[in-house]
């Protein structure tokens, strides 16, 4: 099955200015806060996961012509329909976020850290090469960082592996690392003048020793 993400934007030639906004301006239509809150409130119901949400959003064919809250809305509608939530006999929600416990729930959060399944393969300072292959499913290694050599800078412990979780194949925890690249490794010498370092947070299966 082909999988196409429309959300992998790093380095693309995208026209248009970056339109700045004052700090207090977070919504631009009265329906936007309802969508934000519905997405947050659906978390504890177990209908989806953050990874399946992202996979559903990034594969919307019209992703690039929608505003961000329109993307959230379209993906929520699609998932609710797929999961039978809107049908005659919806599956029972795991948990429903109630007004009196909503604040406590968001203050607690939903950590992605898990027990490590095995010792970490890499240490800080190790040189690694990222996978060059674009897998046919949701993944979190951006296209611009594929097949590049970088250095392990931080080790974050084991986290839920989005590639597996988005496909509903289980959380399959994997070690997570910050991998830093010289900008020249990513973009070639044309931008060498910019003297920048770029890092991504990469799961162990994305990496091989270099």
């Amino acid at each position: 099955m082909t999988y196409r993400s429309h959300a992998d934007l790093g380095g693309l030639d995208v026209p248009g200015a970056i339109v700045q906004e004052p700090e207090g301006e977070i919504f631009h239509a009265p329906w936007e806060p309802r969508v934000m809150a519905m997405v947050v409130a659906m978390g504890p119901t177990g209908m989806s996961s953050i990874d399946l949400n992202r996979a559903t959003r990034e594969t919307l064919p019209n992703y690039r012509s929608l505003s961000y809250y329109e993307i959230w809305l379209a993906a929520l509608e699609k998932l609710a329909a797929q999961k039978g939530v809107l049908g005659e006999s919806p599956p029972a929600p795991k948990q429903v976020l109630r007004a009196e416990s909503a604040m406590a729930a968001i203050k607690r959060g939903f950590p992605a850290s898990r027990s490590a399944p095995a010792p970490a393969r890499f240490l800080v300072g190790d040189r690694v090469r990222t996978s060059a292959v674009q897998p046919p499913h949701h993944t979190r290694l951006p296209g611009y960082a594929r097949g590049k050599v970088g250095v392990i800078e931080r080790v974050h412990g084991a986290h839920v592996f989005p590639d597996s979780n988005a496909q509903e194949l289980g959380e399959a925890p994997q070690w997570l690392y910050t991998v830093a690249f010289d900008a020249r490794e990513i973009w070639g010498d044309s931008v060498a003048l910019q003297r920048s370092i770029i890092s991504v947070d990469a799961f162990e299966p994305y990496l091989e020793p270099a």
Binding site: E21, A29, W31, M38, S65, R98, A99, L176, R195, S199
Partner: protein, 207 residues
């Protein structure tokens, strides 16, 4: 989105509900009827992100780090715990890392794959942070992006871009403004802008 809808929800939403507004109401009604959401909980969440959880939280973290060297060390070593000690925890801030600007290095945060952002300290992300132009250019032309924000850095300063591609969330610790030695924590927090904690801006100057 059609011209009409755009016009509608940008300017005249209060006059007549837009097609989007109606879609959202329909979905909320259905999810409520099916027992998945409690509309009163949505009201609590909206109020929280409009009045309680926003960039003033992050500004307090930064001001504390500027005033208290012990806290600064803790923040750079274990940001999640240091930030939690000020009461800021939870959703989209479960795994925090603070990165410090210095005279040699300027940090800037992006999420090229979606909209990952440290909600617990900065609240909901601004539209530009989620927009295609920012996500596309921040990694390839950070100096150009900074110029769009009115920030010109010396060529000698290295720019460090953090693409938040997993569940780790980044907070930039900007440099303390010159001439601020006499200011207390509360006044310092007022100098800290949201953009300075993303890395697309600098703190306000002391006036």
């Amino acid at each position: 989105m059609s011209e009409h809808e755009h016009h509608d929800h940008e300017e005249h939403a209060q006059r007549a509900p837009s097609a989007l507004e109606l879609r959202v109401r329909a979905l909320e009604a259905l999810l409520t009827e099916k027992g998945y959401i409690d509309p009163a909980a949505l009201d609590v969440l909206i109020d929280a992100y409009q009045t309680k959880i926003g960039p003033r939280n992050g500004a307090q973290v930064v001001a504390r780090a500027w005033c208290d060297p012990e806290f600064r060390r803790w923040l750079l070593k274990d940001a999640t715990s240091a930030i939690a000690s000020l009461g800021f925890t939870g959703r989209q801030g479960e795994h925090m890392v603070a990165v410090e600007n210095t005279p040699e290095v300027h940090n800037m945060v992006v999420c090229t794959l979606c909209s990952c952002y440290p909600w617990s300290v900065l609240g909901l992300p601004p539209t530009w942070y989620k927009s295609a132009p920012y996500r596309a250019r921040a990694v390839k032309d950070p100096r150009g992006v900074l110029k769009e924000f009115g920030v010109e850095l010396a060529e000698s300063i290295q720019i460090r871009i953090w693409d938040s591609t997993a569940e780790v969330r980044y907070l930039v610790l900007p440099q303390r403004p010159a001439g601020s030695a006499h200011l207390g924590e509360r006044e310092l927090a007022n100098l800290v802008t949201r953009d300075s904690m993303i890395g697309t801006g600098l703190p306000n100057a002391v006036t």
